[in-house]
């Protein structure tokens, strides 16, 4: 048996933990640059607000609805997520952290009977110790656990916990008959369209499809999904979190940037962020992809320049990566084109020091990455950096975050106050 634990409306729930005045009010959390809705409270969902709705489309009604909004406070969400995950791990034999707000768990040994009790315990302990509401679905496979969690969320009578085997007779048949295939874990809209051409539109129809035919016409991955819908475990709980294969730092700009020199400065800044993440994971990158792009939603020319390069040696040094990123991309940029996005991707990651330097490639400058980390950890992000990555003046690629809550758990100077 496998449990999926999912934090309800995760980002909104995180905001509410430190601002209880939001409880009961329709609340949304917006993406970087306050562009789109990335999380909705139940009250906001009831107003018909969809995931991905652009803020400017709902802003006019926000006041009338009493809609509360917050900019995304990722440091806060990441901290509360880590707390939740480490807490849940204590109540399980194995844990696979699937996303910031979801993990799969296998029950602890000797705990195979009272699984509904176990699920309720998970829910209770996260609510008490961390303060976030979670839904729990328990089923023989990961795919069914996902469905069970959705049922736990949508049916209040479940109390937020659904155990596959503790449901009324015919419950799953009825549910699978009505749910579209897109409700199945791993079935994207594109696959759903191809399935529809085969006459498969509901979860039940996919469950009853011939797995071998599905493998031949679609993929082994979708065949596993069919098996899992039939309660045959085909996707294991993977405890080992694979080491990161790539690190991407990219941003949409609040306003178009037409000056190649500014884009170059932006990617130099992003490269330093990527370098910091590399050092945090004790990794080095051997290859770099740097890109900029215009927006498909705006009038004007389309331009998507990118550059790929191999570094002389695997590195996580901010100076080396920033210089490489800027030098690689700048020649491909055209002055006057309104770029809306840029990014840096680090590839071919290896553990620090895994690749022994070739004789003669000993770096000529002393490493400064760890020193920069130490200073920024102690005095705040952006205290020191290369180029404009350390200026306090707003840069044209910075996020607009009009409704950002403080770093309650990540910034000593921004602790939640109480009187």
């Amino acid at each position: 048996m496998i449990a999926l634990v999912d934090v309800n409306n995760c980002y909104v729930s995180c905001e509410r933990l430190f601002d209880p005045s939001l409880i009961g009010k329709p609340t949304v959390v917006l993406s970087n640059n306050d562009g789109c809705v990335v999380a909705r409270s139940a009250e906001a969902k009831a107003l018909g607000i969809q995931m991905g709705d652009p803020w400017f489309k709902i802003a006019a009604d926000a006041r009338r609805w009493g809609l509360q909004r917050r900019s995304s406070n990722y440091p806060l969400y990441a901290d509360l997520s880590q707390r939740t995950m480490s807490l849940l791990a204590r109540y399980a034999q194995a844990q696979e952290i699937y996303s910031i707000d979801e993990c799969f768990l296998t029950p602890p040994p000797g705990h195979t009977r009272e699984l509904l009790t176990w699920g309720r315990q998970l829910r209770r302990v996260v609510a008490r110790n961390v303060g976030l509401p979670v839904s729990v679905g328990i089923a023989p496979t990961k795919t069914l656990a996902k469905l069970a969690t959705e049922a736990a969320k949508k049916i209040p009578a479940t109390g937020g916990v659904v155990h596959w085997e503790n449901t009324p007779p015919g419950f799953w048949d009825r549910l699978m008959d009505t749910l579209p295939v897109t409700e199945v874990w791993g079935v994207a809209a594109r696959t759903a369209r191809r399935l529809a051409a085969q006459g498969i539109t509901t979860v039940a129809e996919l469950r009853d499809a011939d797995p071998v035919r599905i493998r031949d016409r679609f993929s082994v991955v979708l065949m596993r999904t069919v098996l899992e819908l039939n309660a045959v475990p085909a996707i294991p709980v993977e405890e080992e979190t694979a080491t990161k294969q790539q690190i991407l730092v990219s941003r949409s700009f609040p306003e178009p940037i037409k000056d190649p020199a500014l884009i170059a400065e932006a990617v130099a800044d992003f490269a330093q962020r990527a370098a910091r993440r590399l050092r945090k994971g004790d990794q080095e990158a051997a290859r770099l992809t740097v890109f900029a792009a215009t927006s498909p939603h705006r009038p004007g020319p389309d331009h998507h320049p990118s550059a790929h390069l191999r570094l002389p040696a695997p590195t996580h040094e901010p100076g080396v990566l920033a210089a490489a990123a800027r030098r690689a991309l700048e020649p491909h940029l055209v002055h006057g084109i309104p770029y809306m996005r840029a990014g840096v991707m680090c590839l071919e990651l290896t553990d620090t020091g895994a690749a022994a330097p070739l004789p003669g490639t000993v770096p000529t400058t002393a490493p400064i990455g760890s020193l920069i980390d130490a200073v920024n950890t102690r005095f705040g992000t952006g205290t020191v950096g290369l180029g404009r990555s350390a200026t306090s003046a707003p840069r044209p690629w910075d996020n607009h975050q009009a409704a950002l809550s403080p770093g309650y758990t990540t910034d000593w100077n921004a602790l939640r106050t109480v009187s």
Binding site: P359, R378, W412, S419
Partner: protein, 158 residues
Amino acid sequence: MRVECVFYPVGMTHPLPVQAARPTLVQAVLLRVPAGFPSPAQDSFDDGRIDLNDVLIRDVSSTFILRVTGDSMEGVGIYDGDEVLVDRSLTPRDGDVVIAVVDGDFTIKTLQIHHQQVVLHPENPAYPDVVVGGLSELVVWGVVVHSIRHLRPVGRSA
């Protein structure tokens, strides 16, 4: 300290004599070798220095730090600007200093439970008690387990 120089042929992990007659790639490795007697203290230092996180935080995942404003808790030595360590995993008991949610905001008070009555009691006679109907109507956000008072602020917390 003495400084020694040992030659490692490239690809080898242990030193080998280098034959000067044949050209060989070598890496120079600096080894710092302590002179004198080993410190007898080193053996008993395996547990490391006292870590306040270990001493003050029972469970990292359920402990939060909040900052107090105002003077309503001066009677128990919690002053304006102090930080409090709050453990959400504890069950609140009579006499605990707690963070409670009242009218959508946080408040720090002493929890008093007598018979059927629950009171949020400020530790300052200038403020009135807040009487809560019953325990079920009270939202306790967490139990305060320590407070931090800065007597001569230095460093990061200044």
